[in-house]
């Protein structure tokens, strides 16, 4: 009995020992597993922290993105939205969270999205296109949009407001149309005026000589009458030329404030179509740069410069457009050849520089690039009117145009825009021939006649001699300043033609003014109607003009000088 109890106790003890041993082993195993899990958790925690940081960066990036990004739940209610998305529609993020996306579209667009877009989105999982959103303030927002279905049934919407881009495209198309019209008009205007100018010169020569002949035939009635008929016929011929009424609508008279940055960006958008792939265009343009000029003329000039730059670079190179208040510090090259048109003044408000890395303008062609119908690339179909537009721009009176070029280095066009138009100088009164009274003739007055046409020049010289003046005729305007400065006896008056090679009458007048502000200047031209009255001119006379009227104009000019 005692033995049996002892055996039972021994058995129980052994079972307990085994249980204890199992528990010890289980505890060790549990501790090992715990350690393993703890280590795994530590690693996972590190990974989680990294992911949280990544998500924060990502979220911050999305919040700061300029493109709109939004998420909706399966019912179409916004559950996330970055400020750009809300701002695009003039809402705050808080105003739109929880709202249905349909709030951002008008009735017709919601219908289109429901009937056309969403069925495609459901079948393809994503949809890309354009939509017409509706802002809180009622404006239409043209959106470029990408919609992607989420597994939860919600949507990711990434969108960009392209209203401004669309507006610029429309503006570019409109400007392109006006530019083409302006190019055609410029060609017609320039050709017409060249013909009119030559005819007027011929008529002026005939008319002037007829007037002198009449004086000589004062006692021969029959011949006097015939010469008088010639004079009447020449006046009628001059009226016919005038009645052709060759005018350009986009002339330099229509000046208005221009957003230079917007205009250049639009111009470059137009030029993109002709830009070779190997050419890079770099721009450095401040956001706000306003000038006073003619939009179409400035665009024509910039586009023609850029187009010429593309052609000069043979498919590879760089065009840099820079707008600043000062010139580039970096010189184009050590030895550059230069040409300029317009009047250089102090303190331009903005300077536009367009620099290319092309072949440069050939030396023998540089002096002619602003001339009508002159082109360096006849084989490429150049009209010869592209850079002539720059002269038109300079004629507007508040732009100075410079060209620097170096062979195989490149060319730089610099357009300096001034605040004030030169001709609008209120300190000097504008004198009119018709409103001035007669004054005594002043025989012996020294008059410098400037006209490239020999027929007109000689005729005028004869006529002035008959009127007892002392005229000097010169056919090259480039020599005028030197003549004025070197004359032993100073000139009392300048009579100049308008259209001449090298320097036109308006530019010449400005240059004369800069050295002899007191010297009266009469413009005598077949295109006198194109010139704005200005304090620079004592009178603007239309060719042909009778000798008596010329005499009156001279006397008035000198008496007020």
């Amino acid at each position: 009995m005692e033995t049996a109890r002892s055996t039972d106790i021994d058995g129980t003890l052994k079972r307990l020992e085994r249980k204890l041993q199992r528990e010890r082993l289980a505890r060790e195993e549990a501790e090992r597993l715990l350690e393993e899990k703890s280590s795994e958790l530590y690693s996972l925690n590190g990974l989680l922290q990294t992911q949280v940081r990544d998500i924060e960066v990502l979220r911050h990036s999305i919040d700061m993105a300029t493109d709109g990004i939004a998420l909706t739940d399966g019912d179409g209610a916004f559950i996330y939205m970055n400020p750009a998305h809300a701002g695009m529609f003039a809402y705050t993020v808080e105003e739109l969270l929880g709202q249905s996306w349909t709030i951002l579209y008008g009735e017709a667009e919601n219908e289109r999205l429901g009937e056309i877009v969403f069925p495609r989105l459901q079948s393809e999982g994503t949809w890309r296109g354009e939509t017409y959103g509706l802002s809180k303030t009622g404006f239409t927002i043209i959106q470029e949009i990408v919609l992607t279905l989420l597994p939860s049934g919600g949507l990711i919407c990434a969108t960009r407001d392209i209203s401004a881009r669309r507006k610029r495209e429309i503006y570019a198309r409109d400007l392109e149309g006006r530019l083409q019209k302006a190019e055609r008009e410029a060609a017609l205007f320039t050709l017409g005026n060249a013909v009119a100018h030559d005819f007027n010169n011929l008529i002026a020569a005939i008319s002037g000589n007829a007037a002198m002949l009449k004086t000589a035939l004062r006692n021969d009635f029959d011949n006097y009458h015939r010469v008088n008929q010639i004079e009447i016929a020449t006046r009628q011929a001059a009226n016919v030329i005038r009645s052709l009424n060759i005018e350009r609508s986009n002339d330099t008279q229509n000046l208005a404030p221009i957003d230079l940055a917007e205009l250049i960006q639009t111009g470059l958008q137009i030029a993109e179509a002709i830009k070779p792939k190997g050419i890079q265009v770099i721009t450095d343009i401040p956001v706000e740069a306003e000038i006073i000029s003619n939009e179409v003329v400035v665009t024509r000039c910039l586009l023609n410069i850029v187009k010429n730059a593309f052609e000069a670079m043979n498919g590879v190179g760089t065009v840099t457009l820079r707008v600043a208040t000062t010139c580039s510090v970096m010189a184009l090259a050590d030895n550059v050849r230069t040409l300029a048109t317009g009047v250089k003044r102090e303190d331009p408000i903005w300077i536009v520089e367009i620099t290319d890395t092309g072949s440069g303008v050939p030396e023998n062609k540089l002096d002619h690039i602003f001339e009508d119908f002159f082109t360096t690339k006849p084989k490429l179909g150049g009209s010869g009117l592209g850079l002539q537009a720059l002269r038109t721009l300079a004629d507007s009176g508040n732009v100075f145009v410079e060209v620097e070029t170096a062979e195989n280095v490149g060319t730089r066009f610099r357009l300096s825009f001034y605040k004030d138009v030169l001709r609008a100088d209120p300190s000097l009164p504008i004198r009119s021939l018709r409103t001035e009274g007669q004054s005594k003739p002043r025989a012996g007055l020294r008059i410098l006649l400037v006209d490239d046409n020999a027929l007109v020049g000689r005729m005028l010289e004869d006529a002035l001699l008959q009127m007892k003046f002392l005229p000097d005729w010169i056919n090259d305007p480039r020599a005028v300043l030197r003549l004025i400065e070197s004359a032993k006896k100073p000139y009392d008056l300048i009579i100049t033609d308008l259209s001449m090679p090298y320097i036109d009458g308006q530019n010449l007048s400005r240059q004369i003014r800069s050295i002899r502000p007191d010297l009266p200047i009469i413009i005598y031209s077949g295109q006198a109607s194109l010139i704005e009255p200005s304090s620079i001119y004592a009178a603007i006379l239309q060719k042909p003009i009778g000798m008596d009227a010329l005499g009156v104009a001279i006397r008035n000019a000198v008496s007020k000088g």
Binding site: R22, A26, R27, E29, A30, L33, K37
Partner: protein, 191 residues
């Protein structure tokens, strides 16, 4: 198979029979773990079957009945360990309805790589009945049934409820259960 099942089974055997039987079960040479189970470890389900067969034979209890009874006890142990998982649901039907969609999702989060049976809801009638499709790689339809009884017991409706079982596979890997909570004459199946 999760160690908690083994530890719970060890306690179940000791409580219902004896430490002697439990000791014999855990000393079986077929157990590669040596019978030293921890709640946080994982062990082959074959070791559970080996232990269950030993206990059934030693105590002369039908094995299916043994495993069902253990299932009921296991539910109580699990509910004690994770009360938050149970108290969120007002009725046994509510809880049974979310085994697959919520509870197993949470279990997988806690124990990565756990292989769990599936409990797909075939139909449900408010809080009075639910039809579940059970399927597993392991032959534990009896254990699943026991767990359902444990659930009904936990909510205090065991006596007035029924669990009907239709075996799709004879080996206990696939069955359809219909649980009805009755408020009258009691359950159909009293294990």
């Amino acid at each position: 198979m999760k160690g908690i099942v083994f530890r719970s089974f060890e306690s179940f055997v000791e409580a219902n029979w004896s430490m002697d039987i439990s000791d014999g079960m855990l000393s079986l040479p077929e157990l590669r773990s040596g019978g030293a189970f921890t709640t946080v470890g994982y062990y082959p389900h074959t070791e559970f079957l080996t232990m269950a067969i030993y206990v059934a034979e030693t105590t002369e209890t039908p094995i299916n009945l043994l495993v069902k009874r253990f299932g009921t006890a296991l539910f109580h142990d699990l509910a004690g360990l994770h009360p938050e998982m149970v108290k969120s649901y007002a009725s046994p039907i509510d809880l049974l309805a979310v085994i697959e969609s919520v509870i197993h999702v949470d279990v997988r989060k806690l124990y990565t790589g756990t292989e769990l049976p599936r409990f797909d809801v075939l139909s449900r009638d408010a809080n009075t009945s639910i039809k579940l499709d059970y399927s597993s790689k392991r032959p534990f339809a009896d254990l699943a049934e026991g767990l359902m009884w444990g659930c009904l017991d936990h909510y205090g409706v065991k006596e007035t409820s029924s669990v009907m079982r239709d075996d799709v596979a004879a080996d206990g890997t696939h069955s359809v259960f219909t649980v009805e909570v009755k408020h009258g004459d009691g359950a159909v199946d009293r294990h």
